[in-house]
Structure formats: C-alpha cells, structure tokens
C-alpha cells in the first residue's frame, strides 16, 4: 500500500509542473494591471464565461443524457446507427466547427444564398437569421461538439446498472419522462456530472472558437493579458485564480458523490422497449439533430473545402508525416496517461476498500485531474519554463545542446499526458464507483494479492471504461494545439499544427485537408469502441465480478497451466 502511494505520488508530480513554473511569474506582480482588469475586463469576462458555461452545460446534459437514455432503453428507427454516430462529434476540434459554421451560415454562404434564391430575394439583410458570431452561436457550436462526453458517460451508466430498478419502475406503471427523471437521472448522476465536467472544462479552456465568434471569456482574457497587454505575470495570475475556482467546483461536485452510493447490486443492461410511431419518430429526430449539427454539416463543409483544394493542388506532400506524427504522439501519450491513471485509480480504490478507509489515494487522484483545468496555452508556457529549468538542473554546465527536454518529442508527450490525465482518471474513478467493494474483499479473503487483484479482476472489469477513456484521450491529444505548437521540435508538424498554420493567417479553409484527416483518423477508434461494447460485456454480467474474485484467489484455478 505504501509503495502504491509513493508510485501514485510520483505519477502526479509532473501535473504540478506547469503550476509550479508559473508561480514565480504570478508572484512577481503585474504592476497596476489588476485595478484595470477588475474594473474593465474581468467582470464582463466572468459574466460571459458563466453564461457560456451555463448554456453549454444545459445543452450537453440535455442532448448527451437524453440521447444516451433513448438508445439505452428504447427501440426506434436508427437506434443502432445513432449508438455509434452520437460519438462522432468527438473527432472535431471546436475551433474547426466554429470556422465551418460561420462559413455555412454566413449571409454570403451556401444556406442563406440558397434561401434567398428560393425566395427570390436579393438583399442579404432581408432574412434576419440569428448571428452565429454571438454568445448563443458559440453555445450552439460548442454544445453540439462537446455533448458526446456526457453521452458516453451516461450511456455506460445506463447500460451497466439498474436494469432491476427500471423493471421495477416500469411494473409500477411509471413510463417515459417519469422513469427518466426519477430513476434514470439519479442513477447516472455521477457519470453525467463527470462527463459534463469534462465538457465544461473544455469549454472554459477554449480560445479558438470563442475568440473567433466574438465571445470574451476569462480564458480569452488570459491570452489577451499575456499577448496584447504583454503581461505573462498578469496572465499567470488570472489563470491560477481560474484554477483555484475549478478546483473548488470539482471538490464541491464530489461532496455528494459518496463512495459506494452508486454501486450496482446486479449490473445488467436494461431491456429495450419498442416505441410507437409518433414517439419513435421523435426519438429518431432527437438523436439525429445533434449528429447533424455536431458532425455531418461541419464535416460536409470540410469535405467540400478539402475537395476544392485537392482538385486544385493535390494532397499536401507532407500529409503522411503529419498523420504519422499526430498518431505517434497521441498514441504514446495515451499509453502514458492510461498507465498513470490506472495506478492512481487503483491506489484510490485500495484506500477506499481498506479496513480503515483512507483519503490519500483519492486526494492524489483528484490532484492529477487539475492539469485539465489550466488553459492550454498557459499550461504550455508553464511547461516550457519547467522543462527549461529541468534541462538546466540536469546539465548545469550546458554540455547538451540542443537541450534534452525542451523542444523534444518527449516534452510534447509529457504535456499531453499532464493535460489530459483527468480523462482516464475520472473515467476509471467512475467505473470503480460502480464496482462493488465486496469484490475486493472476497478476492482478498480468497488469498489474492494486490497484483493479482488488479490484473485478474479489476482490469477485465474496467476494460469498457478504460477503452472509452483511451478513445477520448487519443482524440483530445490529436486535437491538442497550444502545447504542441510551443513545445515540439524543429521540422515536426502534426495535423493540428498544419491546420493551425493556415488558420493563423486567416485562410482556415486551406487547412481543411488536415482538419478532415484529423476527423478521419478519429473515426476508426470511435467505430472500434462502438463495436467493442459487444465484445466485452464483463461489466454487464451479474455476479461475474464476484465469481472472478473467488477464482482469482485460488492458485491454479483461474487459468490452466501450460505444461
């Protein structure tokens, strides 16, 4: 147990790096900047951030949990298709969606032109469609891209627990809305909260989409303070305050999340209930709209824009390299972060199931999630300062030039792992919460050691949560921009940096090919995950955990030895 805790602590230390590196800058003071910020910048930024978060939060919960409920509990036309398709928006970076939507909905764009042609109107101002460059537009764009975080988490919760509760509810005469509100929602609350937290942190961290659509959030203020107000000190101060705020919110959210409260007694999938015609159509529509808005329309735009470029100039000669670099870096980071997260989650679990339950493991796990709460660009600056410091400490005489860590691939991988550790850590924590503690107790009583408990019992049972986390992690790492831009070595482009190189000079449609590749590479893992659910139903089999626990304790019984 002690060793576990030490290892877990070692895993978490790098997460503190960017924050530690920024502390001196923040402590250095920013002159008379704060009175100015407090008076003219932060109140408005805070208000816009809160409105944006509230809007996106409501949208992702409604769409994510609603769709998850429908595909988990009912049979309606297209259900199978939607089960997978509702994950697709994950492959799209929010800022790409913002560019795409502006082009699609602009008065000089295809929708309004077609509309005017159909109605025989020539004045572009004649049709007063809502402006996408607004808070509402930003909520729509981000909500439609980010809802899968909630969808994935909620669906896992609906499918692995409470078939009994649902059956009971149904036989008591409850149906539809009541069933969802009184049984489904409370049951999946921790999962929905975890998914929403990811979506909201992503919203809070976003700069590209908000800035382009004219929404001045706190994170946009951090950037403007750093770049335009030329004060890294001020930017670091706002960012750290923001981090504090997020930390408090995360702790509060967990207060209601008592260990054991949501363990499923008999995990099983709910039976699908067929829907009759009007309701079935409504369900199809409810699931189709987010897929259309969050994926089909923006990607159709990308395909069109990419096709125009390919027809004119062919494929970019370095495309293969970009893809290779993106997949390599994201893959490595996924492995690293998954490993750390498993260690952290297992430590927290052991702490909880110990004879005298402890908090150390849980605290470490929480702390490991803070990397996600720092705005990407600020985290990147913190990391480059930290890596510079490490290089100097490792090699005080300056023999190694170029430096070992700064501007290396390892720096990029480490940055991804630090930033996105929250994804697998949160996912695994939620999965452990659904796993009965008796499983551990029985295994230990039957004589299984820690290693055996982990490898033979936990790991197979965690596989669904683990693969979902791996997918989110991989996609997020592929889409990551600020740290990749700042930390990567010479002559190394990824899909995200190649796309940004065009977006930065305003010609974002030239990045369409890279953006489309980003989406295409994201598709196989998404499809794999959608299909894999059928192949590892471990979580869904009642009593399997306990049987495995008992088997694991008996040497030689779990697996026949080879001669």
């Amino acid at each position: 147990m002690k060793l576990l805790r030490v290892l877990a602590a070692l895993c978490v230390i790098p997460v503190a790096l960017p924050v530690l590196a920024l502390l001196p800058a923040a402590a250095a003071g920013s002159g008379d900047l704060w009175p100015h910020l407090l008076r003219f910048v932060l109140p408005q930024a805070l208000l816009e951030s809160i409105l944006l978060l509230a809007g996106v939060g409501m949208l992702v919960v409604t769409v994510g949990a609603g769709c998850a409920w429908l595909v988990s509990c009912y049979r309606f036309p297209g259900r199978k298709l939607f089960t997978g398709a509702l994950m697709l928006p994950l492959a799209l970076p929010t800022y790409v969606a913002a560019y795409a939507w502006l082009d699609v909905l602009h008065p000089a764009g295809p929708v309004q032109m077609a509309l005017r042609r159909a109605l025989g109107i020539t004045d572009p101002r004649a049709i007063p469609l809502p402006e996408i460059r607004s808070l509402g537009g930003c909520v729509m764009v981000m909500g439609m891209v980010l809802f899968p975080y909630v969808y994935l988490a909620a669906r896992a919760a609906f499918q692995t627990q409470g078939a009994d509760a649902l059956r009971a509810g149904r036989s008591a005469g409850a149906g539809g809305w009541l069933l969802f509100r009184r049984i489904g929602l409370p049951m999946a609350r921790p999962a929905i909260a975890a998914g929403t937290a990811l979506a909201l942190l992503e919203t809070l961290n976003d700069v590209g989409a908000s800035e382009f659509l004219g929404v001045r959030t706190l994170t946009v203020s951090v950037y403007v303070t750093w770049i335009t107000r030329s004060s890294l000190e001020g930017a670091a101060q706002i960012a750290l305050l923001l981090l504090l705020l997020v930390g408090v919110v995360m702790l509060l959210e967990r207060q209601g999340h008592r260990p054991g409260a949501h363990e499923a007694a008999h995990p099983a999938r709910p039976e699908l209930q067929p829907l009759k015609l009007p309701a079935a159509l409504a369900a199809t529509l409810f699931c189709a709209v987010p897929v259309l808005l969050g994926f089909v329309i923006p990607v159709a735009y990308l395909v069109w824009a990419a096709w125009q470029r390919i027809a004119q100039f062919g494929l970019p000669p370095d495309l293969g390299q970009w893809i290779g670099n993106s997949a390599f870096l994201a893959g490595l980071a996924t492995l690293l972060a998954l490993g750390c997260a498993l260690l952290l989650a297992f430590t927290a679990r052991r702490d909880r199931t110990a004879a005298e339950p402890g908090r150390a493991g849980v605290m470490l796990l929480r702390f490991g999630m803070l990397g996600y709460a720092l705005p990407g660009g600020v985290a990147a600056v913190g990391l480059i300062i930290a890596f510079g410091g490490i290089d100097a400490a490792l090699d005080p005489l300056g023999h190694w030039a170029p430096p070992l860590l700064s501007g290396s691939l390892a720096a990029v991988v480490l940055a991804y792992a630090i930033r996105f550790l929250a994804i697998p850590a949160g996912g695994l924590e939620a999965a452990y919460a659904r796993l009965r503690r008796e499983v551990d107790w029985s295994a230990c009583a039957a004589g299984a050691g820690e290693a055996r408990l982990f490898w033979r019992i936990h790991l197979p049972l965690l596989l669904p949560a683990l693969s979902a986390a791996a997918l989110l992690l991989f996609l997020d790492a592929m889409k990551e921009l600020p740290a990749t831009l700042l930390l990567r070595p010479l002559n190394t482009e990824t899909l995200a940096t190649a796309l940004y190189a065009e977006a930065a000079r305003g010609t974002y449609e030239n990045g369409a090919i890279a953006a489309l590749m980003l989406v295409l590479i994201g598709l196989p893992p998404i499809l794999l995950l959608a299909m894999a659910r059928r192949f590892f139903p471990a979580e869904a089999q009642p009593g399997r955990g306990l049987r495995m626990a008992l088997a694991a304790g008996l040497p030689g019984m779990a697996r026949p030895r080879k001669p």
């Binding site: 460059r133 403007v224 335009t228 300062i385 430096p403 700064s406 290396s408 831009l485 990567r488």
Partner: protein, 340 residues
C-alpha cells in the same frame, strides 16, 4: 539477452529526447510566420547555399521558449510578425547585434535597429476596406481612420477584436498622433458605429461588406491580394471584388514582419547569411509575390495587385514608438469596452 530490450529503450529515448545528430551546415529558425509563406524562400536559400534550414512554427510564446531554453537554445534566427512582438525579443535581450553591410544597404534606416538587433523583412499596411457598391470612388479615396468614427458610418463599420495585435498597433499609432483622450472618444464613437461585434479575422470584413452587413472596415492589405489573386477560389475573389482598398493619404499605419539573430545562436554565421538572403532582391520579390506584402528594399517591385492600391503614404510615427505605446492603447480598448 538482457541488453537488447535495454538498447531498444535507449534508442527510443534518444529519438524522443532532444539529442540530434549534427549535420553539415544548418541554421535553425523559430518563426511565427506561417510555414506556407516562408517555405519557398527557405527552399531557395538552401538551393543557393547548401545550408539546411530547420524550422518550427510557433505562435504565442516564441519569446518564452527562447528565454526558457536560454544558452542551450538551438535557435539561430527568430522571425515574427508585428512590431510589438519583434521589440519584445529585443527588450528581453533575446537577440544580438549584427553588423552587415548587405543588411544595412538593403533595409532603410527606419526599418532596422541602428545596432542591428532587429531587421524588418517586409511591411504591410492597415488599410480601410470600402464597399464598391455603396461608397463612391471619390468618397472612398478621401477616407481616413479618423472618419470611421464619424456619425455618417453609424451601423456600417466592421472590424476584428480591438485587442488583436493588428488593431492595438493601429490604435497605438493614433494614440501617438492624437493623444489619450482623443483615442478614448474615438474608440467610443467607433464602437458605436460597429455593424456587428468586433470579431472574426481581417477577411471577414471583406466578406461582410459583400454580404451587405457593413460598408467600411479596417484590415490588412495582403488579404486583398490573397482574395483577388483567386488562390482561395472564385468565392473569395468575389469578396475581394466587393471592396476598394484605401490607403489613407493623411498617413497610413504600416506594420512589419521582421527577424533577429538569436542571442545564443549556435550557427551565427549562417544566421546572418539567412537574413542577408531574405533582404536580397530575389527573396524580396518572392516575399512580395507569396503574400502580397510590401518589400523593405526600396528597389524591389510591388506585386501588380498591391501596386493597384495606390501610393502608400507611410504615417510618420516611428515603429518602435508604436510598439512602446501598444499596451497603453490596449488598456484604452478595455476602458471603452470596445470588444463587448
């Protein structure tokens, strides 16, 4: 037996970490200029000299990276857009003085540091875009930045975020010309004239003028070249055709792209050679054609589209002064709530 996986891990590590094999002649470039713009130039340099150019395109944080890497930094040349970013490299002592007759001869005095700590490589003007349809040629020709705050443009102006470096540079230029309280009134009135929230990029000004959302706006000159050249397709050519590009005769605000030799450049000689190449007639020509900018060499020819914008009367505020007043201008942008 035991050593083989160990060696594999070590090999993998050295691939991941910064260790790189030394090559013949090379020069390392950190740039905030987009790769597509500089690549043709760098390829030509390598062709001529045999020196390989390794690049990394960075946006915000180039100065932080240079500073964090310190004496170990592999960077030889840093190339940035916007005078404020260039001055930051100089102010934070991340550049070094360079003495070169070729550079001094090619770059006019106002566009380089007297001690060779920075050099401009190209310039771009902050222009006024005016609708061809709704603003007469004669009216357009007389437009000034100051006019945009005039009540006659109520609800007719488009511009990107007031905190974007391109705009803070323009507002800093106006601040030096007219003073702080004038700028405050000006920005308040300009905000009152906006047709939409300050957002998007420079090109959206042209597109929004085409769409009839607004009639005038502020944006950089080279975007017009990109649009009119048809490189972005016919649709974008229509955006460009919807506007006239006005270079205010009373003095146009000009910004720059430029470069420095990094303070700890390991390949200093090659770095100076690269800068000299970038201001050579051939490279300046390439620059002008690749991105429709104004070359710094007085004898280099303009691209026909750029020449079509008319005479460029550069405003008489020195570039370092614009850079110095930028933060003050950005604060006034906040104070009047320009972006809200």
């Amino acid at each position: 037996m035991f050593l083989r996986p160990f060696c594999a891990v070590l090999g993998g590590l050295s691939l991941l970490l910064g260790a790189q094999l030394a090559q013949a002649a090379e020069v390392n470039l950190y740039t905030t200029r987009e790769p597509a713009l500089v690549k043709p130039l760098l390829d030509r340099f390598t062709e001529q000299t045999g020196t390989v150019v390794n690049t990394v395109f960075v946006q915000g944080g180039l100065a932080e990276r240079l500073a964090a890497e310190g004496a170990r930094s592999p960077a030889d040349v840093a190339m940035v857009v916007d005078v404020g970013n260039l001055m930051e490299l100089v102010d934070r002592n991340l550049s070094q003085p360079v003495e070169s007759a070729a550079l001094s001869a090619a770059v006019p005095a106002g566009l380089r540091a007297p001690d060779g700590r920075w050099f401009a490589l190209s310039t771009r003007a902050r222009a006024i875009y005016a609708s061809r349809e709704r603003i007469s040629e004669a009216d357009a020709a007389r437009l000034t930045y100051e006019d945009l705050a005039d009540p006659r443009f109520k609800g007719r102006v488009c511009i990107r975020s007031g905190q974007h470096p391109y705009n803070t540079a323009l507002f800093s230029f106006l601040l030096v010309k007219h003073g702080e309280s004038w700028l405050r009134d000006y920005l308040t009135a300009l905000k009152g004239n906006l047709a939409r929230r300050a957002s998007g990029g420079d090109r959206e000004v042209a597109r929004d003028i085409l769409a009839g959302l607004c009639d005038v706006g502020v944006a950089n000159t080279y975007y017009v070249g990109l649009m009119l050249s048809g490189r972005g397709g016919d649709e974008q050519r229509r955006w460009g055709q919807a506007i006239r590009t006005v270079l205010p005769a009373s003095g146009t605000m000009v910004n720059l792209s430029g470069a420095v030799v990094a303070r700890h450049a390991p390949n200093r000689a090659e770095a100076v050679k690269l800068l000299e190449f970038l201001v050579s007639p051939e490279a300046q020509q390439l620059y002008a054609e690749a991105n429709f900018e104004y070359p710094v060499r007085p004898d280099a020819a303009l691209h026909p589209i750029v020449a079509g914008f008319g005479t460029l009367a550069v405003g008489d505020v020195p570039l370092p002064e614009i850079a110095a007043q930028r933060v003050r201008a950005s604060r006034i942008v906040d104070e009047v709530g320009f972006d809200q």
